[in-house]
């Protein structure tokens, strides 16, 4: 019957219940959207990295797996050294640079011929490869999101580029410019931030990797299968992203806590007379506290469900507005946010519930 009392109290005050649940829902959606977006972007980056088709990745010393934050560079001449190793089929020097013009993303500077040797070439939807130093190749998702056409000009790194080709997505970046242009723009001629290495056969990979590790001792060398996983992990654990995610989770939980606190505090004032009735019936303090805690949990649970709705709605909205943004919800975060919603709800209701339980029965019964 106490469950019926809880439900009837939730139902008989629909606006208050809805507003409270919605606030918890916003808490849940905020966390899930943020985590989903960061996970989506990280995973999508790793997937695109794997899609290049390289078997081994070589990075310069002191470079970072958080590619956007990596500043290390190495001479492109290393490519000649690498290509001389037995088992190596192709080597492509690449220069990765963060672009902030017209959106945030990595631009890859590539030598198209060697890059094609790794990727087996782009699949062109429109146009073809670089014709000049100011050409850019964009992938179809980037082009569709911005409704770009072949020959149109776009600004990257504060410089204008002509779209020379629109290619199928999935091979490294969404934006490619000639390696020489990139080196000039960044002021590092003859340098690359990464070497993509293709072996003749998968069985050659361990041998090539061991040979590289022997010759280039301070250079981070990864086989592609572990590189993608390392990339994901490094990006997820990247300090600023981690701090930002934790801050948002904390603030969202705090919002949920205060909303439930205010809602239950108001409810208890509103229901003082009801508390007096329960006390006159002999309801112990624990029974009354639990009644309000359970009600908060119901509101928290409703909020979680609403939050899921808001998350999926928000995801649809984001993808409509920015198709390049990828949202992937790690299933464990559904559990975490569920727990957080219920935790903030019960914590928010704790003081009001205890206060309700300690009400003087006569004063409560006399409350109008």
């Amino acid at each position: 019957m106490s469950s019926q009392l809880i439900l009837s109290n939730v139902v008989s005050r629909p606006m208050r219940s809805l507003a409270t649940a919605l606030a918890v829902g916003v808490e849940v959606a905020l966390i899930l959207l943020l985590v989903g977006l960061s996970t989506g972007m990280i995973r999508e980056n790793s997937k695109r990295m794997s899609g290049v088709g390289a078997d081994i990745v070589l990075q310069p010393p002191n470079s970072s797996l958080v590619l956007a934050a990596s500043t290390g560079a190495m001479s492109v001449k290393i490519a000649d050294l690498v290509s001389g190793i037995e088992g190596v089929k192709a080597v492509a020097p690449v220069y990765l640079q963060l672009n902030t013009s017209g959106g945030l993303g990595l631009v890859w500077g590539i030598d198209q011929e060697s890059f094609n040797g790794i990727t087996q070439g782009f699949v062109y939807r429109e146009g073809r490869g670089f014709q000049g130093p100011d050409d850019v190749i964009v992938d179809d998702i980037y082009a569709d999101a911005r409704e770009l056409r072949l020959g149109e000009e776009i600004t990257l790194m504060n410089r204008s580029f002509r779209i020379a080709g629109i290619v199928e997505h999935g091979k490294g970046s969404r934006l490619f410019i000639p390696l020489g242009t990139m080196q000039r723009l960044v002021g590092t001629p003859g340098q690359a931030t990464m070497m993509m290495i293709k072996c003749h056969d998968k069985s050659d990979i361990p041998g090539v990797k061991a040979e590289l590790e022997g010759r280039l001792k301070s250079y981070p060398i990864f086989d592609m299968s572990s590189f993608a996983a390392h990339l994901e992990e490094a990006n997820r654990d990247f300090g600023p992203i981690k701090f930002f995610t934790r801050t948002v989770v904390f603030i969202a939980t705090l919002i949920g806590f205060f909303i439930i606190f205010l809602s239950m505090y108001t409810a208890i004032t509103e229901r003082t007379h009801e508390i007096g009735i329960l006390k006159s019936l002999g309801a112990p303090q624990g029974y009354i506290s639990l009644l309000f805690l359970k009600e908060a949990l119901v509101l928290g649970g409703l909020g979680f469900v609403l939050g899921l709705g808001l998350t999926f709605g928000g995801r649809f909205f984001f993808q409509l507005l920015m198709p390049t943004l990828q949202h992937q919800l790690p299933p464990e975060w559904l559990l975490y946010t569920g727990i957080l919603a219920l935790f903030s709800a019960s914590l928010g209701a704790l003081y009001p519930a205890l206060r309700a339980a300690r009400q003087d029965p006569i004063e409560a019964l006399a409350y109008e």
């Binding site: 009837s8 007379h273 009801e274 019936l281 002999g282 112990p284 029965p361 006569i362």
Partner: protein, 239 residues
């Protein structure tokens, strides 16, 4: 006969700043099992405070209250609550029903509290039938008339078969017709089920159905008369 309720030199003093008001003064009272007592007196004479003390809703400044042999006047809220849960049923002037629950729900929650979670749907139905509320099972209090609400409040008070029923002006909010129905019901509970009842009333006709009349003034018991002794006997209602 077994004493169900006993107060010994009960005193309650309210303090407001430096002002002290003695609401109940040195009240000693014994209520044997099955007795029906009416307490009358002018407003502010301490009737309701006495009822709250006897029911463990308030603690006395001095003195003791024993309900079925257990002391309810101790300062501990948990002890008073526990005795109230097991041994006392309340009926109030304002009905005090839970507005969001149905008639059946109001009875079931009293059972749930009394039995630490368990319910007896059959007993709920029996009580609702007995009080003529069988067709109002699923009605909320706001959908019931004043008389029906008070009948439901009485049903709730007795559903757990309390040792004593404490009624505070049970007809105070009712018209004459409904008052008569409610009084008849209370009388029936006393006669048929030997329910021990202590009722506060302003209404001499209501008091007339009791076995004993206690009159209070200025926080004290000034007179006690057994059935048939008091002058209003001829005014008794023919219920």
């Amino acid at each position: 006969m077994k004493t169900i309720l006993e107060s010994i030199a009960l005193t309650k003093i309210f303090k407001t700043g430096k002002i002290e008001v003695t609401a109940v003064r040195d009240v000693s009272l014994k209520v044997p099992e099955g007795e029906f007592i009416a307490i009358m007196g002018p407003s502010g004479c301490g009737k309701s405070t006495l009822l709250h003390l006897l029911g463990g809703l308030a603690t006395p400044t001095s003195g003791r209250v024993l309900v079925d042999g257990e002391e309810i006047s101790s300062g501990k809220d948990a002890v008073r609550t526990d005795i109230r849960r097991r041994k006392i049923g309340f009926v109030f002037q304002r009905f005090n029903l839970l507005p969001t629950l149905s008639a059946q729900g109001n009875l079931e929650i009293a059972q749930e509290i009394h039995r630490n979670g368990s319910r007896d749907r059959q007993h709920v139905d029996e009580i609702l039938n007995l009080l003529g509320l069988e067709k109002k099972t699923h009605h909320k209090p706001s959908e019931l008339s004043g008389g029906e609400q008070q009948r439901l409040a009485i049903a709730r008070a007795v559903i757990n078969r309390p040792a004593i029923l404490l009624a505070d002006e049970p007809t105070g909010n009712l018209d004459t017709r409904n008052s008569m129905v409610v009084l008849k019901m209370i009388q029936e509970l006393n006669r048929a089920l030997s329910q021990t009842i202590l009722m506060i009333t302003h209404n001499p006709e209501a008091a007339g159905i009791a076995n004993r009349l206690i009159e209070m003034r200025d926080g004290r018991i000034v007179s006690q008369q057994q059935e048939g002794e008091w002058n209003a006997a001829e005014d008794r209602m023919s219920l």
